[in-house]
């Protein structure tokens, strides 16, 4: 598995003296749907924040697509091909749905500022291409009818899809989904699972998700890692992890799920 897309070695992070993540090792192979589960406060979101550069790990290395990304600024990591969604939605509420997507396409724009201000032909062609690409993404997410609506007027389930679409608009190789099923009803959860699989297949991306929802994790993840108190307690295929006594005790046992 030397060709893993994302490789994390010995990653630890402390807040003040508090240990949030301790000596993590990960290998996320290309093309899989990878699940990270663990009780609240076990360091899941911190792991995402470390990978995306919001925090820089105190120790360890993060290799993505063959090069070290630790210490890079978040937007540069996005340019390298890692996109994410947030546990608590972070939508551009006052922008239209399509503009939410177009923002994520902005960094590939070649038109200079001057060309944009004067609206030269090259600028217009580029804007048109961006618009078409954004509309295409919205169609996949069944949001095409909402494209001109202000994002804040969308219901919760659609906002979750919009955030996934925005992540995909950066043309990522790896998508990090932070509790994508949070707050959804069973029907929406089923649709979401189907959507994640479809996204992986159509966009040829690797998916790395954090989830509480065991049905989602067991249903679509091809590899699972279970953590508790910042440490790994199990890792492997869903069937094996699901039977691991340590997992049952630390996670399933406590929550009675």
């Amino acid at each position: 598995m030397s060709d893993a897309l994302l490789k994390i070695k010995g990653m630890s992070h402390y807040f003040g003296g508090l240990k949030a993540v301790s000596n993590f090792d990960f290998e996320v192979p290309e093309g899989v749907i990878y699940g990270l589960i663990g009780p609240n406060g076990s360091g899941k979101t911190t792991t995402f924040n470390l990978i995306t550069g919001i925090y820089t790990p105190t120790e360890g290395s993060i290799t993505f697509d063959g090069s070290e990304i630790k210490g890079m600024k978040p937007y540069k990591i996005v340019h390298r091909g890692i996109a994410r969604t947030f546990q608590n939605l972070r939508i551009f509420s006052n922008l239209s749905v399509i503009d939410n997507i177009r923002v994520a396409r902005h960094f590939t724009v070649r038109s200079s500022l001057a060309s944009s201000l004067l609206r030269l032909p090259g600028f217009k062609a580029e804007e048109k291409a961006i618009r078409q690409e954004a509309m295409h993404l919205l169609e996949i997410m069944h949001l095409e009818d909402r494209s001109e609506e202000k994002a804040k007027n969308l219901p919760y389930g659609e906002l979750r899809r919009l955030e996934i679409a925005r992540a995909l608009a950066t043309r990522p190789k790896l998508v990090l989904l932070d509790e994508p099923a949070a707050g959804m009803n069973p029907k929406e959860v089923a649709d979401l699972m189907e959507l994640i699989v479809r996204v992986r297949n159509e966009f040829k991306v690797t998916v790395f998700l954090i989830e509480h929802h065991m049905k989602v994790v067991m249903g679509i993840c091809e590899r699972i890692k279970v953590i508790d108190f910042g440490e790994t307690i199990a890792e492997g295929l869903p069937e094996a992890v699901g039977k691991d006594p340590k997992v049952l005790e630390a996670y399933l046992g406590k929550r009675g799920a």
Partner: protein
């Protein structure tokens, strides 16, 4: 077609220019009115450029007039001290326009100097930092004897006229409109909406925040240059904190993020200032009440508080008039 829309705005501006010019030539609008209209247009430039920083990029500047001061003094020094220009010559007018742009560039450079270190700060801290910078600029001007120190830069030739000011106001609005409705502008808007999400959508937030400061400061500098060549003086007290606060009131009254709102508010409040002045003079001279011009600012202060308490989104919210929206080709 999208490119048909720019002429529409151009036509509207040209019509405004023509109507006002004709009314002025026929004596219906006297010189007094023209002064108010010219002032309004300069405040339009100030308000929309502050709106770029505060309303569109979501930063907060309390020192906008500091940038205007840089433009006023730099352009004024070029026309008055270096070239000793006269408004009668064509070449003089050409150099004047160049001087205004250079004043804008100087202000933009100061915007860069201020924007860059300020970026680590947010909200109220940023407000204080920009206020501090604005005051430093004013203190420095107060102490440079070459530009008159506390007396101000005097004897600036009167180059600013209605036509020049309309042209600059039009260009400012058109350029900012084009900016906001481009990928670069959307990157700025996304910072206002959610900085972290913007960064994780690949936006180099630092770069765009600085860019917002630079562009906003550039146009403030242009406005300062125009004002100096209208009033024929650049004085440190014109560019203090309360002048910046007045522009801020315009931005809030019109609606943070709405260029249309800033334009309307700049006109309305400039005329209101003048109306209040006339009203106060009448109360003082005719009715004999002991009232002073301070009441104008009292009313503005109350207006600002009322807006914040009861209508934070201002007149327009974040909406734009149709004429400022570029239709997109959807197919």
């Amino acid at each position: 077609m999208g490119n048909l829309k720019l002429p529409r705005m151009l036509i509207a501006t040209a019509a405004f220019w023509a109507v006002v010019s004709i009314l002025n030539a026929t004596g219906i609008l006297n010189g007094y009115f023209m002064i108010i209209i010219n002032r309004s247009l300069i405040f339009v430039i100030l308000a929309v450029s502050l709106n770029l920083i505060n309303g569109i990029t979501g930063q907060f500047s309390l020192g906008h007039m500091g940038f205007a001061a840089v433009g006023a003094y730099v352009s004024g020094s070029i026309t008055t001290l270096i070239f000793k220009l006269s408004p009668d010559t064509l070449a003089g007018n050409g150099i004047f326009v160049v001087a205004i742009v250079i004043g804008g560039l100087a202000a933009g450079f100061v915007g860069f100097l201020i924007g860059f270190p300020s970026l680590r700060l947010k909200g109220d801290y940023l407000a204080i930092m920009t206020l501090g910078f604005g005051e430093i600029i004013r203190t420095i001007l107060n102490n440079i004897d070459a530009v008159g120190g506390p007396r101000g830069l005097l004897g600036i030739p009167k180059f600013s006229n209605f036509t020049v000011i309309v042209a600059f106001a039009f260009l400012t609005i058109a350029i900012l409109r084009n900016l906001v409705q481009s990928s670069h502008g959307r990157a700025m808007l996304s910072i206002r909406e959610n900085e972290l999400a913007a960064e994780l959508a690949g936006v180099d937030t630092t770069r765009y925040k600085v860019l917002g400061f630079i562009i906003g400061a550039f146009f403030a500098g242009v406005a300062g240059g125009l004002l100096a060549h209208l009033l024929q003086i650049a004085h440190p007290t014109q560019y203090g904190f309360y002048a910046s606060a007045l522009v801020l009131i315009m931005v809030y009254a019109g609606g943070m993020g709405s260029l249309t709102g800033s334009v309307i508010a700049a006109f309305t409040l400039t005329f209101l200032t003048e109306g209040l002045r006339v009203g106060i003079d009448w109360l003082k001279d005719t009715v004999g009440l002991p009232v002073g011009t301070e009441w104008t600012m009292v009313i503005y202060a109350i207006l600002l508080i009322l807006i914040m308490l009861f209508r934070t989104e201002g007149l327009m919210g974040m909406r734009e008039a149709k004429i400022l929206i570029i239709a997109e080709e959807t197919k």
